[in-house]
Subunit: 209 residues, 2 copies
């Protein structure tokens, strides 16, 4: 039986085959888990079926943890762990507890002295950093930048300052439908010599770097 | 045949079995590559033998890229790519081009319009961030902190300031034999309420988080 603990389970980024981005070990862990804390129910179910079509989804218990989940609800999610069972934590894409609400759950597990076991999988942040050719000795991830004009320009200029003053690579994400606007704003706000790497659909058929 | 390009190949962190931390796809890519740019020859050979014992090391060409490699040497490493062959880039541990000299090679590949393909694998930085329970929406990786007393204290205080002013998780690495000194310095320099996560031997038998 799988030792009790909170297993951090990465999922595919888009429509990638499992064996392209996940170690075999992850499958063996997943098949032994009956309780999953997930960011999105539908994505989680679809992912589990992709891992192994014979998984009986109805035998599993799901707990939804997203931006709207009240913090006190998280204590309920600890119940199986306190009974000695293993629990999996999954986000909607990529690695849980990075750029998603999962880290609150991990923090709570540590508070209760519950073992936390991170599994290897695809992270769009790390893969794009690797593939950028930019400084990987020192980098900052910012999540999303502000959407509004002035605030956004100010943030972009602050990030650019950090590239030159601290030799720090600056990473951020954007939703597909705002990508063009983002590129326009970067071209407008940054020095001509500032380098930009655009990475989209990483590990997928139409990977663009 | 594998399409030409610079494949970024993660290796195990310490003595982990391959199937614990690497997708099957990586093996299939590795078996098709004859040219490897590596940080350390011995580690690279040992890793390749671990991936598949039948790999004929003598049939492969290795190019060493480490801190002491002169920058102009990197142009020579492009030769197989310019002939349309695939080249693998490996660091000594974890993901290449993050916290190692590989990013210069990636940058050069982009300059020459050579395709760069990052593969999924273990990153001690990302895995410890996932498992820390700290803010994963915004974080900075600093590499090694200064070794000397005053400079180090100043840097630790600057990092702590960024935790509170920008709500940014601060990550850095330390060599095993300096770990105790690092913990002592952190305890001496930081506020009592500042949280610290120590992650060592990630994905290995004696993982400590």
């Amino acid at each position: 039986m799988l030792p009790t603990g909170l297993y951090l389970i990465p999922v595919t980024l888009g429509d990638t085959p499992i064996e392209r981005v996940l170690p075999d070990y992850n499958q063996s862990v997943i098949l032994q888990i009956k309780h999953f804390i997930v960011e999105d129910l539908r994505t989680a179910r679809r992912f589990l079926k992709k891992v192994d079509r014979s998984i009986e989804i109805n035998d599993l218990t799901f707990y939804v943890l997203n931006k709207r989940t009240p913090k006190n609800k998280l204590y309920d999610f600890l119940a199986p762990l306190q009974k000695g069972e293993a629990v999996g934590l999954m986000s909607e894409a990529g690695c849980p507890a990075v750029a998603d609400p999962g880290s609150d759950m991990v923090a709570l597990a540590h508070q209760r002295d519950i073992k936390v076991i991170p599994l290897v999988g695809p992270s769009s942040i790390l893969l794009s950093l690797m593939a950028s050719g930019f400084n990987g000795q020192s980098f900052t991830f910012h999540g999303y930048l502000p959407i509004q004009g002035d605030q956004r320009t100010q943030k972009i200029k602050e990030l650019e300052r950090r590239i030159y003053s601290d030799n720090e690579t600056q990473l951020f994400i954007e939703t597909p439908y705002r990508n063009q606007q983002m590129v326009d704003d970067l071209l407008k706000s940054c020095k001509p010599q500032t380098k930009l790497c655009v990475a989209a659909n990483i590990t997928c058929e139409n990977e663009f770097i």
